[in-house]
């Protein structure tokens, strides 16, 4: 092909049109209209909402990830200085949650980017006054994503975000990991996504239960007020948070805290237990055995007789022995094993009874019994729904827990000490 022959391609009339088109495309190459360079953004990893007690304004707390700290790690002592911390926590107030968010702009040098905010902390104060306005923002605003996980914070939000988490770079990451780990290892905190939260809010006959995040006072911690030695500090950084229990709601307003045990019952009833350890007393000598549950299935069915409701809950649980304090052989003794299983089942049933009692006291249907009626017997629900809070308090339980121990680890019985 001769040099310059490409030029001839644009000789004809139609080709000349193409040339103009290509030139027009060059304009588009200059960049896009709403472009935002990632280097110039600051990423928010955790966001908290609170309400100012005096003014009634909404307060937003954002934990911002600081990229300078990262570049400093890899590049040694750079121009950024040595004392850049990986995270910065800022807060602002406003009459609406969004105004509060916009009020951060005059204080933060970079444009904030919220899509990576994966944890949403809500203060107890705000939760008690109603979370709908905050949910409206999260749902409406295109930067927020509904995969973020909500938490109700008992204590100070800023403290939870400012605290040091030795294993993680910054608090937002630490909280997200904590939620994943907590949900995987123990079923004592109902971890949900914002998407599910909004769905539950709109479901008839079901109230919210959101995981509780307790904030510890870092100064007091395990060692009290005593001053730490330099060496001691490494091992003695007290954990700043505790994930367990939950906040029970009625509508969008929180009505009370519930404990680990009742939150666990929520997992039992909805068949959501992934792993949880129960300590059962041996039927032979009363000494404890730990059983880890690895599977749980549940089935609920309402029985309606006029305005008397009985909820049938059928639960199938499988567990394995993880350790035993008692020296007796439980596994080869069939009769002992089935008595152990019976105690195991009773323990689970007691969890559920305690939770139902609490639901009735708080008048919050966080176990979703009304929703079961709505889904399975919609016609009856139409009759019951106006009196449901009252009917819930009179509701009877018909529990049928079938708990089995099917695995005992690598050994059958404890060591035979001679």
């Amino acid at each position: 092909m001769a040099v310059g022959s490409w030029y001839c391609v644009f000789g004809g009339k139609q080709q000349r049109r193409l040339l103009i088109l290509f030139l027009l495309l060059a304009i588009a190459c200059a960049g896009c209209w709403d472009r935002r360079e990632p280097e110039l953004l600051a990423f928010v990893l955790a966001v908290g909402f609170d309400k100012d007690r005096d003014s009634g304004d909404y307060k937003i707390v954002a934990q911002i990830f600081n990229p300078l700290a990262m570049s400093q790690q890899s590049g040694g002592e750079g121009a950024g200085g040595q004392d850049k911390r990986p995270s910065w926590v800022v807060e602002a107030t406003g009459r609406t949650p969004f105004e509060a968010r916009k009020n951060l702009a005059p204080m933060v040098s970079r444009e904030l980017f919220w899509s990576y905010a994966r944890v949403v902390l809500i203060s107890e104060q705000l939760a008690r006054e109603g979370i709908r306005p905050v949910m409206d923002l999260l749902e409406r605003e295109r930067q927020f994503r509904l995969i973020a996980r909500p938490l109700i914070v008992e204590g100070d939000i800023s403290k939870a975000l400012v605290s040091e988490y030795p294993l993680e770079g910054c608090s937002g990451q630490a909280l997200l990991r904590q939620l994943e780990t907590g949900d995987k290892m123990r079923s004592i905190a109902p971890v949900i996504e914002t998407r599910e939260l909004i769905n539950i809010l709109s479901q008839p006959g079901r109230d919210l239960l959101i995981a509780r995040l307790g904030v510890r006072n870092p100064k007091k911690g395990v060692l009290g007020e005593r001053k730490l030695d330099e060496d001691e500090k490494i091992v003695a950084t007290p954990p700043p948070i505790y994930l367990g229990g939950g906040a029970a709601f009625r509508g969008d307003k929180m009505v009370g805290w519930i404990g680990n045990r009742e939150a666990r019952a929520h997992h039992w009833v909805l068949g959501k237990v992934r792993r949880e350890t129960l300590v059962v007393e041996s039927p032979l000598d009363g000494l404890p055995v730990s059983i880890e549950v690895f599977r749980a299935q549940s089935n609920m069915k309402p029985k309606i007789n006029g305005d008397r409701v009985t909820m049938q809950i059928k639960l199938q649980v499988k567990g394995r022995i993880q350790d035993q304090v008692t020296a007796s052989d439980l596994v080869s003794n069939r009769e002992a094993l089935s008595r152990l299983e019976l105690r195991f089942a009773t323990l689970i049933a007691n969890d559920i009874k305690a939770a139902v009692k609490q639901a009735q006291e708080l008048n919050s249907d966080f176990l979703g019994f009304g929703n079961v009626i709505y889904r399975l017997q919609p016609r009856e629900w139409e009759q019951l729904k106006s009196d449901w809070p009252q009917l819930l308090s009179q509701m009877k339980l018909d529990l049928n827990v079938e708990a089995k121990v099917t695995v005992a680890g690598l050994i059958k019985e404890p060591v035979r000490i001679k």
Partner: protein, 368 residues
């Protein structure tokens, strides 16, 4: 002037499938336009029945005149001038549909991605691309549709299967708790949107096997209805009916509010891309039919000089027809869109069917 271009029936099926599925992905009208709530997937099935009837009303007449467009056989049925009026009604319907499609896409982009961009840039860009395709002719559009179809289907399949583990069928209960009325109401708007199939009035003579047009179109309709049912089940199963119902773009909202794994998230680009492809094919086809039809009404020998003027009109229309997104959404309310579409039919196809039936009854066979 006769349409010389020939496209395979299979290609027509691709075009119609993409055209119809696009609106489904966009607004999920079975769910958002009425209160079918968790029964929206049943409304999607009802929609198939409704739109199949509509499709037959449109294409069964065209199939009887396999080598003529509606403009041509209309002239034969009801004489020249009334036929021109009827044709203009159908062409205006095509213009409204195409402009509205573009507008929805534009609103989606300025809501979700390009918040500061003027609407007209998005719609003009999209219409311009479609106009270039329409200018090239229906064969080119059909080939583009054939090329994009696998990609379109792949993106849909991916965005549907990846989210499948998160579907909670509990969200679909109770089934039919409030009787059939909400289901029927929910199916009105999506059935009315099937007026898109009016492109068949012009396209049938361009087919290789025009007599099988109804069957081809029915297959496309069946496919897109299946997608509609699936999308509805998945969206309601993940978001719950209330959250999905309150969303302007439910499928998009669903896709962006899930995390498949830690590494696969933000898959919202998939449906938005698929949507873009479908929209391109849809409005290119509509523009082609508009230009072709208008050329025949005016007695021009070539449709191409009309493509860019019509594209300009469509762009202006897409921006000017609706003041804002709320007005756009209210157009899709059953009590507005249903009479609207019904008027098109009463003014265009009904007189033609009447004339056709009379001819069949009173004019001896063998004359045409």
């Amino acid at each position: 002037m006769k349409i010389k271009a020939k496209i395979a029936n299979r290609q027509l099926a691709f075009i119609l499938f993409m055209m119809r599925t696009t609106v489904t992905i966009a607004l999920l009208p079975v769910l958002t336009t009425a209160d079918a709530a968790q029964d929206a997937w049943l409304a999607a099935i009802a929609t198939f029945i409704g739109s199949a009837l509509m499709l037959i009303a449109i294409s069964a007449l065209g199939v009887r005149y396999p080598d003529q467009t509606l403009v041509q056989y209309g002239a034969k049925l009801v004489s020249s001038w009334p036929a021109k009026v009827i044709s203009l009604v159908i062409l205006s319907a095509l213009l409204v549909i195409a402009a509205t499609d573009v507008r929805i896409y534009g609103e989606m982009l300025i809501t979700g991605f390009l918040v500061q961009t003027p609407l007209v840039f998005i719609t003009a860009g999209m219409v311009f691309a479609a106009a270039v395709a329409a200018w090239q002719g229906i064969e080119v559009i059909a080939r583009v549709a054939g090329a994009l179809f696998p990609v379109f289907l792949l993106m849909l399949t991916l965005s549907l299967t990846m989210v499948l583990p998160l579907v909670e069928l509990k969200n679909l209960q109770p089934v039919l708790a409030r009787g059939l009325m909400p289901v029927i109401k929910g199916s009105i708007t999506p059935t009315a949107i099937a007026a898109q199939m009016l492109v068949l009035t012009i396209l049938i003579p361009a087919l290789e096997k025009p007599r099988r047009a109804t069957g081809t179109a029915l297959w496309a309709l069946l496919g897109s209805s299946l997608v509609l049912v699936l999308i509805t089940i998945v969206t309601v199963g993940i978001l719950g009916s209330d959250q999905a119902n309150r969303s302007i773009f439910p499928f998009y909202v669903m896709v962006r509010s899930i995390e498949v794994t830690e590494f696969i998230q933000r898959i919202e680009a998939l449906p938005v891309f698929a949507w873009g492809f479908g929209l391109f094919v849809g409005i290119a086809t509509a523009l082609y039919c508009l230009a072709q039809g208008l050329a025949q009404v005016l007695g021009l020998s070539d449709y191409r000089p009309l493509v860019f003027p019509l594209a300009t009109i469509q762009t202006v229309f897409s921006v000017q027809a609706y003041k804002d997104v709320f007005e756009l959404l209210s157009f899709f309310k059953p009590n507005i869109i249903a009479p609207y579409v019904l008027t098109w039919f009463v003014l265009s196809l009904v007189p033609l069917w009447v004339a056709h039936t009379i001819r069949q009854l009173f004019v001896q066979k063998g004359e045409d």
